[in-house]
């Protein structure tokens, strides 16, 4: 039941961003964009004790009035951001985790496409469908 899903490149530009409704898209752009600050902070603070394996899931980045923003960073520093509505109480941490897992798998599948150059915008239909399914759950 995500309302917005975003994939962000290592260099922090968007590879893919999808909002549930088109009219609120710009708002989510801002939300996701600003959430990068928190992600960076979390990643850099976690990076200090480098030996232990970092968990990919970053948890809740920050809550806003209406939404909760969750983050996930792959080992190649690709960032996933999922925005859910605050009112949706059925989503617990575990559900969010599994959503990220699913998103990560879809991303890896998409990346396996030899015609995709890493760093390009993601246009894969399969990936898109996965994201849409996550929003409609």
């Amino acid at each position: 039941m995500a309302v917005c899903v975003a994939v962000i490149a290592k260099e922090n530009y968007p590879l893919y961003i999808k909002a549930a409704s088109a009219d609120s898209e710009l708002k989510f752009y801002y939300t996701v964009h600003t959430s990068l600050d928190v992600i960076e902070e979390k990643v850099s603070s976690a990076g200090k004790n480098a030996n232990e394996l970092r968990e990919l899931y970053l948890g809740l980045l920050y809550p806003t009035e209406d939404y909760k923003v969750y983050g996930y960073v792959t080992n190649t520093k690709i960032k996933f951001v999922i925005v859910v509505e605050s009112s949706n109480s059925t989503l617990r941490d575990n559900e969010i985790r599994s959503m990220f897992k699913k998103l990560h798998n879809a991303y890896v599948d998409m990346l396996c496409n030899p015609f995709y150059t890493p760093g390009e915008n993601i246009t894969s239909k399969v990936f898109n469908n996965t994201v849409i399914s996550m929003m409609q759950e």
């Binding site: 530009y13 600003t34 600050d37 902070e41 603070s45």
Partner: protein
């Protein structure tokens, strides 16, 4: 209306709040701000004898409502008031004092003490005399010399400058900076308008003033005269009460006037008030002691006198509440304890304060006094923070440092922290891990603040406090580098619902943004900056402030990775991913809009340019179109500039060249067209030989590839149009009109011819040629190009173009050269040519000639340039292997050309080019072909001659630099076959002096040809062969100097003149016989023989042309008499051995001659005559008789052999060569024998000579009565009688 102090920090809990107010109407703002600046430096005062410090915070205005919170938190209370005013006489002073009273009244609840600082009077309060006034005026009118001198304060602790007001909020920050700067300029009416905040302050002040005017006058009416020049009499009772303590101290200081405790201080002017700081220090010290008194006053501890301290909004809640309850008492007690804590904190006793707070919490907890508990928690945090950093003096310094780093203000050395801890990029110092004595650690502080905020949030009216607490907490956590928690507190601020003015809202967002920036959350910071900007111009805002909006937006750019200076961006070429295009576009659009609303069109255009440059890649077609339309509209109103634009905030927005519209793919500096390209005149010294290095085609090393060639290997010519070619792409969806495109050059002056090409939509590789004309000589450095597209001028430097490796191009410009046009009278050739471009061919000429024909062609040089032509060199170029031939074909007269020089401007020079169709007159199957015939096809097919007539010319300054130009005419001559020779020979004629040349000629042209020779004329039809005879005089052999047969042919051709004429075409030509080859015998025939024979057969003289045989019977004696006369002039025979021999032979008519005839012929007498020494008269005669035994045809051969001078018998070479001429022992006799009978070899040899003449000899044998000189290599010469002496012997 309560106002939020967005800048509050935890440390503010320990500061005295002192108001500094401009009072009266006479004080210029400039003076006040100077005064403010000086006082505001004094933020920490060491209390004498107390080892304690008091910290100070100054405010220019402070709302009454805020002041009411003073009971809740003591640092919110305005404890001191310094009014600054100006007056020049007593009347004015009275007015001023009145205002001062009003001010004081306003804050009377909280004030401990107050001061009025008056400028414009003598320090004793008297009026300044006119003379002094004048001096002062002069001083003022002279450039102000006021400088803040940090060394001035005597107390060293004061030196720590705290700019508590130097805000986190950069807007006010800037205004303050502005003031400091502006102070140096005299008379600045702008300032007031510049700083809206300030003017607003003044308004507020004046409003409050008028509002309370009435009351104040009533109250203080009687006190006006009080402080007149003799103010000894009495004092305001009210003040006296509160100031008793300080009075005694004030009296001890001499800086104030004679009245002890006087609250008025006079200075003559702002420039002349050295004691100001001292006075203020005095004043604040008095505040401290009032406070200290209050702190030590324990009277309230008695339960019966307990007072309930109240927050402002609580007042109505406690109306009518039972004051006797236990909880009420507890509240009183707890709140008092808390207040005591505040006082301790102010007094510099943080440890004590903490104790009080803790106690207060314990008391208040059971009674659920949430608000005050929250205040206690906050107090605990504050005191622990303050105590943690106490002594290190780092609190304010650290803040200071962070600001000064940001603002670029140099920090005095002593302010630098002693600690060697490394600093962070945001200017913060790492905190020393102090052992928290009594204080809390960071996590505890977070907890405590969280609790406090939670409690505050229960009260809607405490929203201001809650917000300030959040900011304070955030600031502490930033110091502790707990950024995530800090961000939580900031997040909380957003939720606090507070009725705020728009200005406050903007401030709030700005503060949030600044704090986020400190956390390192740049994107958040930018987000809130942008929100703040939007707030400025919110639709419900009645007075949208576009300037501020724009200013804030500019500050927001960084977080969105939008760079106003494209050099800052790491991305070198547009289109590379950097940041979030959608968001970036949005912000840029907002910037454009705000700039437009500000009325700053150049700025709007500049932003649009940036948008166009950076975001074009990500735009939809519609967006592109819209943007372009807008841009064109804008530029239609206001032409864009290429100058950097400076914002009010000092940000410089440099020029952004539109490198991508159009996108230049390649930039090529073109040489002049090849016929105009200057080249060095061929000098004598060959440059290639200068170098010891020889050319190698191997490309050794990769370094050559790396080096980008910037220097062009050609030259441009002054005053000549030169060209640069650009290949451009149009990535716009519509046709793009480049209204102007020129080059950016430096070095020498050029004349530009701007183009305005139109690029079709989405065109790729469109060619644009930029024309320039260099106006002087030197090196032209091409740096880039400048365009005007969509009304925007762009100076595109090559170094910014990613596709062009060169950062500049250097072209050498040489002095002016003349220019000619070259034409020929011949028609241009249709197809041309095997020559490459290096020949600069400007025109061509073609002709069709028959072999042997000659033609002329007029070559015209017209001077089209602006300089006379002083030098013309003409040469022929052709492919390497037929140079010689080409030079025969084309001829001209160089001296004729030179006589026509110099060629003036628009003058014409003509010369004739003679074209000789020199061809081949032999068929291909002929054996002897001259050397250059290799190139030629057979004579029957004709051939094509191609050559280039190269004209090098120069003049003027260019010639002095030894440059020239080169134009060429491509010549193409078709040579058609005309006449060929099949066979040729030489025969003797009747006359000794003449001989005949015989030629079999064939017409191989398609036309009928008349051949003229020796005044005769024959007509040859197509393919017809005819023989012609040409009688020529024989000549002395000495006339021919050459040796080879080619030379002989050449020589011979001088005697022969054969020409042809084609009547149908009315053309004629000459037939050359140079290519014919003549055999040795034929050559000999051509010469006059030195030996003349008279042969008599039975007394009958046989003429050389005699044909036929004489008949005799067998057995008849036939006598042969030979008389030889030698022309001694031509043949030096004197004293040499001579042998004369005869022999009879039979010619079997099949080219074999039988010499062995002794069976049929008997010889009577000697056949040979040997003369050891030839007599000088040159005559010789011999006779011999023959008797033929058998019938048949016989011939006689008569030879004369002249032995060579240096006759060497031993020479072996001779033996072999001469063969039959046996030299061994028998000498000439035997040789003669050989001639007779035995040595056939000799005969054979001679005969061999005969046979060597080609087959045609047989044909003309009948006339072949020639003399042959057989010259052996040992200089023996053999002369043969050429007459045919034939006898027919019949039975």
């Amino acid at each position: 209306m309560e106002t939020v102090d967005y800048l509050q920090t935890v440390e503010d809990h320990q500061t005295f709040l002192v108001l500094i107010r401009p009072t009266g109407k006479l004080l210029a703002w400039k003076h006040f701000s100077r005064c403010w600046d000086r006082i505001a430096q004094l933020n920490c005062v060491m209390i004498p004898g107390q080892k304690r410090e008091m910290w100070l915070r100054y405010k220019r205005n402070y709302s009454k409502e805020s002041n009411e919170w003073g009971d809740f938190q003591a640092h919110r209370k305005a404890l001191g008031l310094i009014s600054v005013g100006k007056c020049s006489n007593d009347v004015e002073f009275q007015e001023l004092f009145e205002s001062y009273k009003l001010e004081k009244e306003k804050y009377s609840d909280s004030l401990y003490n107050s001061r009025l600082i008056v400028f414009g009077m003598n320090t004793d309060g008297t009026e300044i005399s006119h003379e002094q006034q004048r001096e002062l005026n002069e001083e003022e009118s002279s450039p102000p010399t006021f400088k803040i001198d940090p060394d001035e304060p005597s107390d060293s602790t004061i030196s720590s400058v705290c700019d508590s007001d130097a805000s986190v909020n950069s807007t006010s920050d800037k205004s303050q900076n502005g003031h400091i700067n502006i102070d140096d300029t005299s008379g600045d009416p702008l300032r007031r308008t510049n700083d809206q905040n300030v003017s607003k302050n003044n308004e507020n002040a004046s409003k409050s003033l008028t509002g309370s005017n009435k009351v104040a006058t009533e109250k203080t009416g009687s006190q006006i005269t009080f402080l007149r020049p003799s103010p000894k009499n009495d004092k305001v009772e009210k003040l006296a009460k509160t100031e008793k303590e300080s009075l005694s101290r004030n009296s001890s200081s001499g800086s104030i006037r004679d009245l002890p405790g006087s609250e008025v201080v006079f200075y003559t002017s702002i420039d002349n008030c050295e004691g100001l700081e001292e006075g203020v220090k005095e004043f604040v010290t008095s505040l401290f002691f009032v406070l200290e008194g209050k702190r030590l006053d324990r009277s309230f501890e008695r339960a019966d006198k307990s007072v309930l301290l109240l927050a402002p909004f609580e007042k109505k809640d406690f109306v009518g509440v039972d004051t006797d309850t236990k909880s009420y008492k507890k509240k009183c007690q707890g709140r008092l304890k808390k207040h005591l804590g505040d006082l301790c904190l102010l007094a510099g006793l943080s440890g004590e304060a903490m104790l009080h707070y803790s106690t207060a919490v314990d008391i208040l907890k059971p009674v659920n006094d949430w608000l005050w508990m929250a205040a206690c928690y906050e107090g605990i945090c504050a005191s622990s923070v303050i105590s943690a950093y106490k002594g290190t003096q780092t609190t304010s310094i650290r803040r200071n440092q962070s600001f000064s780093v940001k603002r670029g203000v140099t920090v005095p050395e002593k302010q630098k922290p002693v600690s060697t801890l490394h600093s962070y990029s945001n200017g913060l110092q790492e905190l020393p891990d102090l052992p928290s004595k009594s204080g809390l650690n960071a996590d505890d502080i977070v907890e405590k603040y969280k609790d406090a905020l939670m409690y505050y949030s229960k009260f809607k009216s405490a929203a201001v406090i809650e917000m300030e607490a959040s900011f304070k907490a955030c600031r502490i956590l930033i110091l502790h580098r707990k950024y995530l928690q800090a961000s939580d507190f900031l997040q909380n601020v957003v939720y606090i619902n507070l009725q705020l003015t728009d200005e406050d809202r903007i401030n709030r967002y700005s503060t949030l943004s600044t704090l986020y920036a400190k956390i390192g959350f740049r994107r958040k910071a930018s987000f809130f900056k942008r929100v703040a900007a939007m707030q400025c111009v919110a639709p419900q805002n009645p007075k949208p402030n576009w300037t501020l909006c724009h200013q804030l937006l500019v500050q927001a750019l960084e977080g969105y990775r939008i760079h106003l200076d494209q050099k800052d961006s790491q991305v070198k070429s547009p289109g590379q991913m950097n940041g979030w295009p959608v968001v970036q576009m949005r912000v840029l659009h907002e910037l454009i809009y705000s700039a437009r609303r500000m009325g700053n069109m150049p700025l709007a255009i500049r932003y649009m340019t940036i948008l166009l440059y950076t975001q074009l890649e990500y735009m939809t077609i519609q967006e592109k179109r819209d943007l372009v339309t807008n841009l064109v509209n804008f530029t239609g109103q206001n032409e864009g500039t290429t100058q950097p634009l400076a914002l009010d905030s000092g940000v410089i927005i440099p020029h952004v060249p539109l490198l991508n519209i159009p996108f230049v793919k390649s930039f090529k500096v073109m040489p002049l067209t090849s016929h105009l390209e200057p080249r060095k005149l061929q000098s004598v010294t060959d440059t290639s030989s200068d170098s010891v290095f020889i050319f190698t085609p191997l490309n050794l090393g990769a370094t050559r590839n790396d080096a980008v060639q910037t220097d062009m290997d050609f030259q441009w010519v002054e005053g000549d149009m030169s060209e640069v070619q650009l290949l451009v792409d149009n990535i716009m969806p519509d046709e793009l009109t480049i209204s102007q495109i020129t080059l950016i050059c430096e070095g020498i002056e050029i004349e530009s011819f701007p183009l305005s090409p139109k690029l079709p939509a989405e065109a790729s590789s469109y060619l644009i040629k930029i024309i320039v004309r260099p106006l002087s000589t030197g090196t032209l450095k091409i740096l880039g190009y400048s365009t005007k597209v969509l009304g925007v001028r762009s100076n595109c430097k090559l170094r910014d173009c990613p596709t062009i490796p060169q950062t500049y191009f250097n072209v050498k410009v040489i002095p002016a050269l003349p220019e000619i046009s070259l034409t020929s009278s011949l028609p241009k050739s249709a197809s041309f040519l095997s020559f490459g471009e290096e020949f600069n061919i400007v025109t061509s000429a073609a002709a069709v000639l028959y072999n042997g024909q000659s033609s002329e062609c007029i070559v015209t040089l017209q001077n089209n340039g602006k300089l006379p032509v002083e030098l013309v060199n003409i040469s022929l170029e052709s492919s390497r292997d037929n140079k010689e031939f080409v030079n025969e074909v084309f001829k001209w007269n160089q001296s004729n050309i030179e006589s026509q020089l110099p060629l003036q401007i628009s003058g014409v020079l003509c010369f004739n080019l003679v074209i000789n169709a020199v061809g081949e007159y032999l068929l291909k199957n002929a054996e002897n072909i001259k050397s250059y015939d290799l190139l030629k096809s057979t004579a029957t097919e004709g051939k094509v001659v191609e050559a280039v007539l190269k004209v090098e010319y120069s003049g003027g300054a260019g010639l002095q630099e030894s440059y020239c130009r080169c134009s060429s005419i491509g010549l193409c001559i078709d040579i058609l076959p005309s006449i060929v020779f099949h066979k040729w020979d030489v025969t003797l004629s009747e006359s000794q002096d003449h001989c005949y040349l015989l030629f079999d000629i064939q017409n191989i042209s398609d036309e009928e040809i008349q051949v003229k020779y020796s005044k005769q004329c024959i007509t040859l039809k197509n393919e017809q062969i005819k023989r012609i005879f040409i009688e020529i005089e024989r000549c002395e052999p000495t006339m021919f100097k050459g040796k080879t047969s080619e030379e002989f042919s050449q020589f011979l051709s001088n005697f022969v003149d054969i020409s042809w004429f084609i009547p149908s075409m009315n053309i004629n030509g000459r037939v050359g016989i140079e290519s014919l080859k003549w055999s040795q015998e034929q050559q000999q025939l051509f010469y006059l023989s030195p030996v003349s024979w008279v042969v008599k057969l039975d007394g009958q003289v046989i003429s050389p042309l005699h044909i036929g045989s004489l008949e005799y019977r067998t057995g008849k004696l036939i006598r042969i008499d030979v008389d030889v006369s030698v022309n001694t002039e031509s043949l030096d025979i004197d004293g040499r051995e001579v042998v004369l021999t005869m022999c009879c032979c039979q010619d079997s008519e099949n080219d074999s001659i039988i010499y062995n005839t002794e069976k049929y012929v008997s010889v009577i007498g000697s056949q040979s005559l040997f003369i050891p020494k030839f007599s000088s008269d040159g005559n010789l005669s011999h006779s011999c008789l023959y008797m033929f035994l058998c019938s048949g045809f016989y011939k006689f051969e008569i030879l004369m052999i002249v032995k060579g001078q240096g006759h060497d018998l031993q020479s072996e070479g001779n033996i072999t060569k001469v063969k039959g001429h046996d030299l061994e022992s028998k000498g000439h006799i035997s040789e003669v024998k050989g001639h007779d009978l035995e040595s056939k070899g000799h005969i054979t040899k001679v005969k061999g000579h005969d046979l060597q003449g080609e087959g045609h000899i047989a044909k003309v044998k009948g006339q072949n009565q020639s003399e042959i000189i057989c010259q052996t290599s040992c200089e023996d010469s053999t002369y043969k009688c050429s007459s045919v002496i034939e006898v027919n012997i019949i039975d």
